[in-house]
Each structure stands twice: as C-alpha cells, then as structure tokens.
C-alpha cells in the first residue's frame, strides 16, 4: 500500500546502539525470591489494595482494584503468599516510597481463574471495563490507562488509528523484539482497538532501522488478511513521540492544548496493544512486560519480566560490568537514573541501561548561551528553547508560557545539540514546576478567599435576616397596636381621623403610627438589602470559580508534577547550578 509520508521539523540522530540487545530472542526472567508490586502503576488514581498479608494469591489474581475510571488494576504476577502491603521504594527518580504488595512466590506459578472476554459480542463499555480491570496501560512508558483512550469522541470520527512501533530512543529494543516475535498477537490486538474506536484506517509506524520488525508485522497483517498499513518511517529521534508519529503518518499536528482524538487520531504503543489482546483473548492481565537490558552489561538482551521483580535481580541477568556507575530506566534521551536497585520492574519499565563513564561521558562544563539557535533548529515542537532558557533562568515564568513552555515534550533534542552544553530540559522542568506550584498556591489562595467571602456573606445575611425578622415582628406588633388605637379612636370619634397628621391623636396613637410607617420602610429596605447581599455572595462565589480556570488536563498535570517537584527537591536542584546527585546508590551492579 502506498502511504504518503509527512515529516516533522527538527529532531536529532544520536547513535542508536540497538544492535547488541537484539542478538538473542526474548528471554524469560526467572521468578525472584520476592516481588514488590506497586499499587500505583498508571496515570490517575492508585489501585486500592484488595489483599491482606498472609493471603494466598494466584497468578493473575486481582490485588489492586482500579480507583475509579481514571485508574487501572494491578495483579499478582505469580502465585504465592502476600507478605505485606507496605511502603516500598518506588521506581521513580525521587526514590520515594509507594504502597506496594510484597509477594513471596510459591514457585508453582499457578494461574488464578482466567476470564477471557468475548470482545466481539460484548458491548464496548464492557470491553473497556475489562481492559481497565486487566491493568492494560500505555507500555510506551507513559502508563496512561488504555481504556480511557478507547472511548471514541462523541462528535469526531476516528479517521486514523496510529500504532506506535517507532521506538526512537537509542538502546531500546523491547518493541522491536515484540514485533519480531509476537507480531500476529499484536496485530490481533490492533484489530480489537480498531473495532472499539471504529477507526477508518490503521497506520503502524516503525522506524526504518528495524527491517525485521517491519517484515514481521507486514507478514502478520497479510496473514490475517487485514488492510493495515505498516509504514517504515525515517529514523530520526523523536519519531516515536506520539505527536511526531501522528504527524509523520497522517500529516496532522496535535498541539499541546488539544487531544489527538479531537483531530480524529488515536495512538497506541505496540506493547500496549499486545497486552490488551492477551488480556481479552486469554484473560491474562498485565503481569509481565518485555524489558530491554543493555548498555554496560556482558549480556544485553530483552527479557519478559514479571512486574514487581526487584531491579537488582533483573540487572543481574545481564551481568553488569565492573565500571558500571549508574542504571538508567528508559532511554538515554528521556529516561532517568534509578536512585535505587531495590525498586521493582513496573509497567513503565521499558528499558534498563547500565551506564558507564565510557558510554555516557561526563558533561562538559556549561557555557553561556550564544543564541546560535541550534536548539530551535532541532526542536520537534518548533519552539525557541533558548528564549525559554533565558526566561526560565531569569524566572520570568509568564514569558515562558508566552513562548509555549507547556508545548515542550522534554525530548532533550535541544540539550543534545547545545554547543554550550546547557541542560536545557532541566531549566524547562524547573520553570514548569514553578508555574504549577504557583497555580496551586493561587488556587489555594482563591479557595481560601472564596471561603472567607462566603462566610462573611453568610454572617451578613444572617444578620440581615435577623433584622428582617425583628422588623417583621415589630411591624406586626405595631399593626396590632394600631388596630387597637384605631378601634379606640373610632370608638371615641366615630371617624378614623387618627391617621391624619394635622390631627392630634393620642400619644400612643402617634407613636404607633410613626413606628408603623418606619417599620414598613425598614422591612422593605431590609428585604432589598438581604436580596442584594445574597446576590453579591452569589457573584463572589462565581468570581472565585472564574479565577480558577484550570482545565482537567492542567489539574492532572499539576498532580503529575507533584512527584516531579519532590524529585527536584530531593536532588536539591536549583536549575542555575545543575544538581549533582551522585548515582552511587545505583552504582553497584552486583
């Protein structure tokens, strides 16, 4: 099938270093002595623990239930006994802890009851629920709950389903090997997703440095008699970024402010699709994933690893060299250095790279920016990174937003080419987190202000109501008295003259009369004032809501940045001086 290719601007071509880890077939990592399965393994809410210490679990048994729609379930990777549900070091640059289920495998590796879904006959909602409960999340590294992306937008037809097999990060080969070895299951998974989204066209994008994977996927597509286009895309980092791949395959540009579904495109990673197929067809939830173990190791290879396997056990499989000084998770462009090997393999773990001084030489010293614009030339989002850098450095955060800092995907191309060796991404992360922190503070302040104003208004209203009540009571009393006076007057004179001012009514009568008039006026005034007060309070409430103009995405981003800020705080990073977190905790490879 002829497929017109588009291109995205910018990008870089670092050494790919992919060949060492594709020499051997995917291996199956042995079961470790303990598994530490974090309950929070997706964007959104952490799964709720469903097991207690001492409990026996079967392989694939649900141990963490999805917390609402924007969450994903977690399962026991093997059969065994739950030792604890406790805080354990997270697979995160911060090295903070996260609630994890500790399982001691019994060695039988016995499945709990598996419940395949007849996805062809079930309604789509049911299938999406099943995916959520099988813990299917984006395995490209973002771990976004897949079911949430599979609900078609109401008004927009999904024209293109883009399947991401580009794998543009250097060193990483897990998707390559998956497509080589499990192409047919992956394509079957794509078929399910296409059904769910009612997508008109399926485009499978694979970088052209993976000819074996392209051939395998083409064979699988042909074998299943499908009309999917398997497209070889030019190898250029970050071609595997969702937005870049969508651009290359469809020509559509998804800005940061919009979702791809609004433009009729949805994008999934190949590994995600594969796990979805296993989950629906065989009832096997996501309890393992393929992880590339490469870099400064004696045996680089891809492994099918149980989620929860401690990284120390995992990296031992590759036999890291003696001079290994760090372990990276993810690729060298966007990954991070692991603070501890006690952390487990999680769903986001796509690649572990043993680092050494030879592989990743020390950073040359940072020089001042000379505004050469090399960063702008390679920015895939066509930003002006050096401008963002100036403003971030000067803490002029409003300007960074004017220059679209939130369109930055932190791909690292700018830092990669900078002749002054400025860690630009670090400055951008700093600026973003500062902005989020300020938004949060502002939100909190607005909320407090609104609360205060509401309380004031309420007290005011209560006062008014009290006055109103009193006025009403007084008026009623006065009216009562007036009738009494009138009665006595008419009894005396036979005419209601008492109401005429020029008259000289009895003292009681006059007093009652003026009191009556005053009361009526006060009553009216009080009522009006109370109404106005209520209106004002209402307005204040609305105003408070208006200042809080966060979209759900922004709110989500804020939540996501909490973790990032924590990381920054832990590494004591004030961007002008790049933090010097030593990686010795991750240093020993034994």
């Amino acid at each position: 099938m002829l497929q017109r290719l588009f291109s995205f601007k910018g990008g870089v071509k670092p050494q790919t270093n992919k060949s060492p880890s594709v020499q051997e077939a995917i291996g199956f990592a042995p079961l470790p002595a303990r598994l530490y399965v974090p309950l929070h393994q997706s964007i959104g809410g952490a799964a709720n623990p469903l097991v207690r210490p001492g409990e026996k679990v079967g392989k694939g048994q649900l141990i963490g239930g999805a917390d609402g729609w924007m969450s994903s379930a977690v399962h026991a990777p093997t059969s065994g006994r739950v030792l604890a549900v406790e805080e354990h070091v997270a697979t995160h640059p911060s090295g903070l802890t996260t609630l994890s289920v500790v399982i001691e495998p019994d060695g039988c590796d016995e499945w709990a009851e598996r419940q395949p879904i007849d996805y062809r006959s079930q309604p789509p909602e049911r299938v999406r629920e099943a995916l959520r409960d099988a813990g299917v999340v984006g395995l490209g590294g973002a771990v976004f709950p897949s079911h949430a992306k599979l609900a078609p937008a109401k008004s927009v037809v999904v024209q293109d389903l883009v399947i991401n097999g580009a794998e543009c990060e250097p060193f990483m080969t897990c998707d390559d090997m998956l497509m080589r070895e499990r192409a047919e299951e992956t394509v079957r998974g794509i078929a399910i997703f296409r059904e769910l989204l009612a997508a008109q066209r399926v485009l499978i994008g694979i970088e052209d440095n993976k000819p074996e994977a392209i051939a395998a996927m083409r064979n699988a597509v042909a074998h299943l008699g499908l009309d999917y286009a398997v497209v070889a895309v030019p190898t250029r980092y970050p071609a595997g970024g969702a937005k870049q791949l969508i651009r290359v395959l469809t020509g559509k540009e998804v800005p940061a402010s919009r979702r791809s579904t609004e433009l009729g495109v949805q994008c999934f990673n190949v590994a995600t699709v594969y796990t979805a197929y296993r989950a629906l067809e065989f009832g096997e939830p996501v309890i393992s994933r393929i992880v590339t173990l490469t870099g400064n190791v004696a045996h680089p290879r891809n492994w099918d690893v149980r989620i929860g396997t401690p990284l120390r056990d995992f990296v031992a499989l590759g036999e890291p060299q003696r001079d290994t000084n760090a372990f990276l998770m993810g690729g060298p462009m966007m990954g991070f250095a692991l603070p501890s090997l006690d952390a487990p393999v999680v769903k986001a773990t796509n690649c572990i790279i043993a680092g050494s001084a030879g592989l990743f030489p020390p950073n040359p010293p940072e020089m001042p920016c000379i505004r050469c614009g090399a960063c702008a030339d390679v920015c895939p989002h066509e930003l002006q990174p050096f401008e963002l850098y100036w403003f971030s450095r000067a803490r002029i955060f409003g300007k960074t937003q004017e220059y679209h800092i939130f369109d930055c995907i932190e791909c690292g191309c700018c830092s990669y080419v900078c002749p002054s060796h400025i860690p630009l991404v670090q400055y951008f992360r700093f600026a973003k987190s500062e902005i989020w922190a300020r938004e949060r503070e502002k939100k909190a302040a607005d909320a407090a202000k609104a609360r205060f104003e509401l309380r004031n208004a309420r007290e005011e209203r209560e006062k008014e109501e009290k006055a109103e009540r009193l006025a009403k009571a007084a008026a009623a009393k006065a009216a009562e008295r007036k009738t009494v006076v009138a009665q006595t007057n008419s009894d005396a004179a036979g005419t209601p003259r008492a109401l005429e001012p020029q008259d000289t009514p009895p003292a009681t009568g006059e007093a009652a009369d003026s009191a009556g008039a005053l009361d009526a006026e006060a009553l009216k005034k009080a009522t009006i004032q109370a109404a106005m007060e209520r209106a004002r309070a209402q307005r204040a409430g609305q105003a408070a809501r208006n200042t809080d103009r966060l979209t759900p995405e922004q709110a989500k981003e804020i939540a996501a940045v909490d973790a990032r800020r924590a990381r920054q705080a832990s590494s004591a990073s004030a961007p002008p001086a790049p933090p010097e977190r030593s990686s010795d905790s991750a240093g020993s490879g034994d």
């Binding site: 540009e253 990954g335 020089m367 001042p368 505004r371 002006q384 679209h404 990669y416 010097e580």
Partner: protein, 340 residues
C-alpha cells in the same frame, strides 16, 4: 556524566570553541589574499589584536570572578580580535589595534556581561569607536602597488618611521565619493572605474580578491552549517538591490552592485558580522529582516553619509532593533500553524 537530568547523550562534535574555531578558519582565505596583497604585516596585526583581546578577556574574567580557562580558550575573543584587526588599516600604528581590541572585549563584551550577553557586535563597536576617535588613522589605507618591505611596514606600525601621506590612499569607495564631489558632475562613475588606478576588475584593485576570500570562507561556513543562509543572503540582497536600483537609474552617478558587494566591508559583514548569533536575530524570518535592513543601511551610509563605509554603523543600528524584530517574527509552533 551528571545523571541528574536527561538527555544523557550529548552530541560530541559541538562546542562553542569548535564554532569559533571554524569561524577563524573561515577567515583564512580572506587573510591569505590580504597577505598576498599587502604583505605579512597583517599577520602581525592579527597577532597583536589576539594578544590584546586575550589580555583584556583575562583581566575582565578576573575582575568579574569568572572561570578563566574555560572562557579564555572558547575562541570568542580571538574571533573578535581578528575582525578588529581586519577592519583597521593594515599599517595603522600598533596601539590602534590594541585599543580597538581592548575596547571590543572590555567595553562592548564584558561590560554587558561577557560571552553571549553583548547586544552589539564587539568588533563593530570597536570599529565605530576607532573611526570616530581616530578618523585620519582609520582612513590611511595603503596605496596598492606601493612596495614596502616587511621591515618598513613594521617600522610604520611600531611608530619608528614617520607616517607619510603618500603611502596611503583613499579606499575605492572613498575614491568614487571624493571624485564625484570634486568634479561636481563633470566625471561619471563608469569612466572613473575604467581609468583610475585604485579600481580593479570589478571592485577595488587587489581588495576585490580579499573580499572574494571572505566570500569563499563564508560559503564554507554555510556549507559546514556554522552560519545560516538567511542573514548573509538578505544582507547581500539588501545592499545589491538598492545599488542596482540606483545604478539603473543614474549609472553615471552610482557604481554597479558588483562593485559595492566586493568593496569595503560588505563581504566580511555579510558572512562574519551579520551572522554573529549573539548580537543578531534568532528567528529565520528575523535574520532575513536583520540582514536585509543592514544591507540597505550599509549602502545608504557608505554612499550618502560622510563615512567611507557603512557596514559597521548599519550593523550596530540593526543590533538595536534585534529584540523588536525577534519579538515580531516568532514562528508558529507545532500544531499552531494556520490551516493550509
């Protein structure tokens, strides 16, 4: 490797020093032609300027408490020094080159914050300062064909020999301007170009090959992607379009565009001055605007104003406009372009 923040891979073959080194290499063809034309004295001036600039750099780094080794070896001061030396007459007294280089480094560069911070091109600031302060010395260009030995040249530069006006003549640009003024309309430019000793095949005698050298070096820099094409091309376009228009209108009063392109500082300006990233525009569109306007201004100043050449003033004037131009030429970002 500092493992605090990705990316952990960096492009190996790029650094400020490497860029500066390539700019210096780009100047070599022009310098070679200069040596052939005038003699090795220019090499002495280049050395003098380099020493002065590096001394000024070292002094300022010390005063500003900045890392010495890193900045002294980044090559930026040497580039500035060479540009200063190449814009000052070759037989100017030694102190003029020293003063120019120091002015460029100390005043125009470090007082604004050092590398990457200067809003004006340091070499052009130095040129402007020198031509305003020492107009006579700055216009003593050697008469071509005047054969001086290196020793005689050196004595002139060192101030050991008396400076004789005979040894210096007007630049080709000056020659046209003066001749037109003196003759009051009785001479036309084509005749001048054809008859006067100072003019060569297409521009100033001899100097046309020096400027051709700059052009070659500039093209090499462009091919190596050290400089972009926008600013040089726009500069050349601005200068030659205006020159062509006036030449077409009154060929007897205005020289042809080719003459203008290969005279004075046009080629040096196009490839080594308006391409300065620090003091120039950063957006592609901005570089076009910057270069074009600088070219137009350079022509206007060199033809209608009192100075022999207008490149330096044109560039300085445009340096002033850089923030404004950059602000109004921000390119649309990914996903925010207008639907085609």
């Amino acid at each position: 490797m500092d493992f605090s923040t990705p990316p952990y891979l960096l492009l190996e073959r790029t650094s400020v020093r490497r860029i500066m080194l390539q700019v210096l290499i780009g100047l070599l063809p022009g310098i070679a032609a200069y040596v052939w034309l005038i003699g090795p004295i220019i090499l002495f001036q280049l050395l003098l300027a380099t020493i002065a600039a590096l001394s000024g750099e070292a002094l300022m780094l010390r005063l500003r408490n900045r890392p010495m080794a890193m900045f002294l070896t980044d090559g930026s001061a040497v580039v500035t020094a060479w540009l200063v030396a190449l814009t000052v007459p070759p037989m100017a007294p030694w102190w003029l080159v020293v003063v120019g280089s120091l002015f460029a480094i100390v005043i125009a560069k470090h007082l604004y914050g050092g590398l990457g911070q200067n809003p004006f091109n340091p070499a052009m600031v130095a040129f402007a300062a020198c031509i305003v302060s020492f107009p006579a010395l700055m216009s003593q260009w050697p008469v071509i064909g005047l054969q001086l030995s290196l020793r005689e040249q050196f004595e002139l530069v060192a101030g050991l020999a008396p400076r004789i006006d005979v040894m210096s003549g007007a630049t080709p640009l000056d020659a046209i301007k003066t001749a037109l003024k003196v003759s009051e309309g009785s001479v036309d430019v084509p005749t001048l170009l054809a008859t006067q000793e100072v003019f060569g095949n297409f521009a100033g005698r001899g100097w046309e090959w020096v400027t051709t050298g700059y052009l070659l070096g500039g093209l090499w820099l462009w091919q190596r992607k050290v400089i972009g094409w926008q600013a040089p091309l726009a500069f050349i376009a601005g200068l030659s379009l205006l020159a062509a228009a006036l030449w077409a209108w009154q060929p007897e009063r205005f020289a042809n565009p080719l003459f203008h392109l290969f005279s004075g500082g046009a080629m040096l300006g196009a490839f080594f001055i308006v391409t300065d990233p620090v003091s120039g525009c950063t957006t592609a569109k901005g570089r076009l605007v910057f270069g074009f306007a600088a070219g137009v201004l350079a022509y206007v100043i060199r033809v209608f104003a009192g100075y022999p050449d207008g490149v330096a003033f044109a560039v300085l004037l445009m340096n002033l406009c850089v923030p404004l131009i950059d602000m109004y030429t921000q390119p649309p970002i990914f996903g925010m372009k207008k639907e085609r």
